[in-house]
Symmetry: none
Subunit: 214 residues, 4 copies
DNA sequence: CTGTAATCGAGACGGTACGTCGGGTCTTCAA
DNA sequence: TTGAAGACCCGACGTACCGTCTCGATTACAG
């Protein structure tokens, strides 16, 4: 087996990585993306700017790595029905997007990525693709429960399934992101209830009456 | 009669506004949000920096105004059915989001707005709220056609209708934005067809076979 | 006699001149030459910038006019001897150079004039030449008292007299200005006493003991 | 042994100091004090503005340092008599004040210093006090020659000598500066001859006939 | 134990842009 | 024509970050 191929010279300090990422998140919370400076991050992390630039190419890459971990906290506990499963993850996602470091960073790196293919790839692999697992898992569970039809057999069926996973992911994540960050209104149980009714039943189905507020 | 209440002193040059907004869009196309500098915008517009700062508080406000007009180009021609109407606007919106000035600006100002309530308000009034007209119009038309049930009478019915408009807007716009800018995949007729099947029929309905590509 | 040849249109407001010059002096006291702005002067004087620029070409010209009047306050009362006369004017001049508007303005306009012949002329006519009257008067008086020899007759004598006036003026004014503004030490009675002993008796004569300080 | 106590970090580039000061002098010659901009100086010196501001607090300090070295060029060769020695330095000083960088800078920094004690101190230590050496040396030499009486013994004598040095310095430098920069007339051999007659013999002594001009 | 090589802190460096200020001109309306 | 008001172009200001570099000082492993 190829060992890590230890390079000569003084090895890098692994604590520094953690300190830098934590400092980045702290900086995002306090200052927001645009006022976050790498000099400031380095100072917060107790690290020289050199150290930071040796490990990340720039602000964009650093921030993607710093916030990617937040998205891995999302889970899909089995709540017994497709509707409840999705509602759970929608609300979790909404809570995540209420955190200032996630709000400011997600949109900002996406904006930066519009003109930077490498960054786009980094976002996909570090954030987007990792969260499709939630859709996959929920869909599988619903199929086992009989709430969704099983995949058609053969390669066409697999491709159709992959397309549907992508579509559902964009619809759910897109709706929550748009409601939260663009429209600027909260995603609460009321909203998620209406959203799920629409998502499961389609536009034609009549929306249920809103629940009473406490 | 309230006269225009002409203020003393030399009036502002209205051409300058137009030149500045056009220069801003041109700069966004060439440089992208983050490399766009206001000094550069002023130079392109043939205007002094002070003139620019006298009229806009900063880059964010300027870009919102510069880009807002693009969104007003969206239209909803009557294509005979709810499905066709929505599909038309989805594709129009996708074309808009392929324009570099819209791509880079929309996400960036949303990112900036996460920590700036005034900017959030400006985005809502200049972009978001103005486009809800499309949802309102499409819904009305579908109701006239009998594709959607009429609003319930009374104030509760009106409130429910408003909630549904907001919801549909976030779902459609969010899905297209997420697909285009976050996931980074194109919104073509294939995708929009799948999306509309989901939107109209709900998750449980089986997705139709994809159309053949030309 | 030719009247002032009244020009058509609204006549200029003579109060404005006074207000502007007073505001200029006030600004010089508070801010010093370099931080004095014409916009500020106009505001202090309750006058529009237009009015100011219609009357003076710029900061330099304005300041020369504003401080020239200060120098006209210098007088040469007859104190009975050449030494006492000069000592009186030396101390008066020193008091004048302690006023911040005079300190900052005199050196500044001289500095500006190094590259501006027109300004140099304005300084000469508004300040320098006007104060030579003091030397002329003092010299005449001393000649009448027999403290200085009378001018030689003929044009050579007149030219020599003019040269001596210029020389004495530069020596006295130069010494006081240099002591006050360049060296930065006060011109008090002690210093002026020593200066006069040198001026009247020459370098070889022994300086007298300094007076006791109170 | 007190080592140079090398500070951490990259050391400053000593060449930059020289380049900046030279660029400052060149800028003064071409543009004069008031049109000299620090951005321009930095560009001429091939240096970033930050480098310049890291080393000098502003234009005033920079110009004092840039010009101070010019004054160190003054010398006092032994010409055999007190009169000849002074005449020599007077003419040297006049030549110096004909240089545009010295003309414009000296008066300007003195003007700025009227409201800035720190700058006043810098001017004294960098320019004024350093040139008193010339008076000291000339006086000493004249005492050795017997042209001037020796200092009185004891501390009172030393104090009187110091006062006389200061006085002579202000009189000579002041007269030359005033003639050159305020009055705006040249200091040539004719003038310096008259000045020295006055300085050595006092006002009462009759001025000699002017020399013939070539 | 000694070299070699990469790392780390510190901070200087060349750049670019910032947002503000002042200079001097102009354009409007009212006197 | 003057005057108040204020917009306008221009150029400089001094600061903040960027990302790179040059130092001396560590800290590993290899010989």
């Amino acid at each position: 087996m190829a060992l890590p191929a230890r390079r000569p010279g003084r090895p890098r300090n692994a604590d520094a990585d953690r300190a830098i990422l934590a400092a980045t998140r702290a900086g995002l919370v306090e200052l927001g993306w645009s006022k976050l400076s790498l000099g400031d991050v380095a100072a917060r992390a107790g690290v020289a700017k050199t150290t930071l630039y040796r490990r990340w190419a720039g602000k964009n890459e650093l921030v993607v790595d710093a916030v990617a971990v937040l998205f891995d906290e999302l889970e899909l506990p089995d709540r017994g029905s497709l509707r409840a499963d999705i509602e759970g993850v929608v609300l979790q996602f909404a809570r995540l997007l209420e955190r200032p470091e996630a709000r400011t960073a997600l949109m900002a790196v996406v904006a930066e990525a519009t003109g930077d293919a490498a960054l786009r790839g980094r976002i996909r692999s570090a954030i987007v693709d990792r969260q499709k697992r939630l859709v996959l898992l929920g869909r599988e569970r619903a199929q086992r429960r009989g709430e969704l039809p099983p995949d058609a057999p053969g390669p066409e069926g697999a491709a159709a399934a992959a397309r549907q996973v992508d579509l559902i992911f964009d619809v759910i994540a897109g709706a929550v992101v748009h409601r939260t960050l663009v429209t600027g209104e909260p995603v609460d149980e009321n909203w998620s209830s209406g959203f799920l009714t629409l998502l499961l039943g389609g536009l034609a189905a009549p929306p249920p009456a809103p629940r009473e507020l406490g």
